[in-house]
């Protein structure tokens, strides 16, 4: 690992001031992705600002929103009684990700900031437009079994690997960002980016900003919710396809529905057209099948990942079926 300067601060204000001073500085929280990238030579910040002591670990109900501090650990959120009761989809998604050891240190903000990536991004001997813009994409025409099927670009077909973020996209979370002058809010579904012509950018966080908290509106998706993750082994593996499904059913009709997918795009993939189709309809297998079919509009395989074109709709139907069956 290339050495770097290390600073530690316990105030948000000083963290932002330190960041502003140095373009080559990065925040470090849990470090489970950043240290890994630094060991591989993929990332080489000149300065690390340790923000673990900044007081942003709150998990609380304020009015009709649940507030989660950016530095709350994945375990702290997943094991929190309020989260388990009010946002079970989030707890399920968190527990489907990484391992117990990683979840103990990985933070909510860090989970959002983990790189959208694939094996070519990690291998510094290979071309990768995300790591080195203009060098090409190794995955297109290469090993692309894990890769995206939606909204891909000629520059990059990597997927965002987070499970937590899929649930947050489904739950209409809002991200609160602090800059040197003011705070701003951005919808979670707009936080991450598609690859487009700027595959080096994973999200819309500005260079002088930090994530400070999430605000998640309360909902009635507390019973009929399920996070279904399909992967190569039963635990501790990235998703091939995952689906966050939440239903509110009243008098046999779907009154609210949320659907988002992971493992299929450069960002957490919200299935708005499928939701619109299901809202107001009965929760039947036929309607689930139709919603899954709608979700696949525009999907495209790259050879090794063609199986996802069938696995994705199957996973949507299964996730909705399991969600409906809960009582």
């Amino acid at each position: 690992m290339i050495n770097f300067q290390y600073l530690r601060t316990s105030s948000k204000k000083s963290a932002l001031a330190l960041l502003l001073k140095d373009k080559n500085a990065k925040f470090i929280a849990g470090g489970t992705n950043l240290i890994d990238l630094m060991k591989r030579g993929v990332s080489a910040p000149e300065k690390l600002i340790d923000i673990n002591h900044v007081p942003l670990k709150q998990i609380e109900l304020v009015g009709d929103k649940i507030i989660i501090g950016a530095l709350a650990s994945n375990t702290a959120v997943a094991e929190n009684e309020l989260i388990k009761e009010k946002l079970p989809l989030l707890a399920m998604a968190l527990n489907a990700g990484a391992s117990a050891q990683l979840r103990n240190v990985a933070t909510v903000g860090g989970n959002m900031m983990q790189r959208t990536r694939c094996g070519y991004f990690y291998d510094t001997e290979m071309p990768c437009n995300k790591r080195k813009p203009g060098s090409g994409c190794g995955a297109i025409g290469g090993f692309n079994r894990m890769h995206a099927i939606f909204a891909t670009s000629d520059n990059c077909i990597a997927v965002h690997p987070s499970d937590m973020c899929v649930a947050l996209a489904a739950l209409d979370a809002v991200v609160v960002l602090a800059g040197p002058k003011a705070e701003r809010k951005i919808l979670f579904k707009d936080f991450h980016r598609l690859a487009g012509d700027t595959p080096q950018l994973d999200n819309n966080l500005k260079a002088d900003e930090m994530i400070i908290r999430l605000e998640i509106p309360l909902n009635n998706l507390t019973v009929n919710a399920h996070y279904l993750k399909v992967r190569d082994r039963a635990s501790y593996a990235f998703a091939l396809v995952s689906v966050a499904a939440g239903l509110e059913i009243s008098n046999h009709k779907i009154t609210d529905v949320r659907l988002a997918m992971g493992g299929v795009a450069h960002k957490p993939w919200r299935l708005t057209a499928s939701e619109n189709f299901l809202r107001g309809k009965e929760a039947t297998i036929e309607n689930f099948e139709q919603a899954a079919k709608l979700a696949m509009t525009g999907a495209k395989g790259f050879g090794e990942n063609d199986f996802k074109l069938q696995m994705a709709p199957n996973t949507i139907i299964e996730a909705l079926t399991i969600a409906k069956s809960k009582a």
Partner: protein
């Protein structure tokens, strides 16, 4: 070779730098001063002189005070500086769990934690589990149930298993497997590892 030449040529200067830098680092760690330093750009002047920064932590109930390069992981610090080689380096990328230790009572991968991020924390390694010659119940259970073959993953498995019991994720064999999935065993001793954990979780002697 090059770096040791540099060291001898610039030894005095480096020592001088270290004195200054440790002073400034200590100061920079105080939040209000850090802010002031940032505003006045004081830290910038000295930051480029940093090589090692002070670190205080407790390992297996023994306090350590040292200064260390920021890039040293907790794993390398434990093994190379403290010679506590029970904690193993497997993949060194957080994928295998061989490096699992407890930080303030919680299991973490020591390969993905910088030593300097553990300032003031209490670390427990496999060497700190036994009470003198008396094995921790989980160590005894691993022996009884043959929870290993080659033994390389075992320290990490045991540290993770002790945490798994403490967390209460032992309600079924499936739950144990799920919450032990961050520890890989190439020999495939998984069923016996789960047997050991089931026994300790039911045994009452959880230490």
């Amino acid at each position: 070779m090059q770096s040791s030449d540099k060291e001898s040529n610039q030894g005095d200067t480096r020592r001088d730098f270290l004195k200054k830098s440790s002073l400034i680092t200590a100061v920079a760690l105080t939040p209000s001063v850090a802010l002031k330093a940032a505003e006045n750009q004081v830290d910038e002047r000295f930051a480029e002189l940093f090589e090692k920064i002070p670190l205080n932590l407790t390992v297996n109930n023994k306090a350590y005070k040292t200064s260390i390069e920021p890039r040293v992981t907790l794993l390398d610090y434990l093994r190379e500086e403290l010679h506590l080689t029970g904690t193993k380096k497997g993949c060194d990328h957080g994928q295998c769990g061989a490096c699992t230790v407890h930080v303030d009572g919680e299991r973490v991968n020591s390969c993905l934690s910088l030593a300097v991020m553990n300032e003031g924390k209490k670390i427990t390694t496999i060497e700190g589990l036994a009470n003198g010659e008396e094995l921790h119940p989980m160590q005894a259970a691993f022996i009884k149930h043959d929870g290993f073959q080659c033994g390389y993953c075992t320290p990490g498995q045991i540290m993770s298993a002790v945490a798994c019991v403490k967390e209460g994720h032992t309600n079924s064999r499936a739950e144990i497997s799920e919450y032990m999935s961050g520890n890989i065993c190439r020999c495939g001793a998984y069923p016996n590892i789960v047997d050991a954990i089931v026994e300790v979780s039911k045994g009452g002697n959880k230490a």
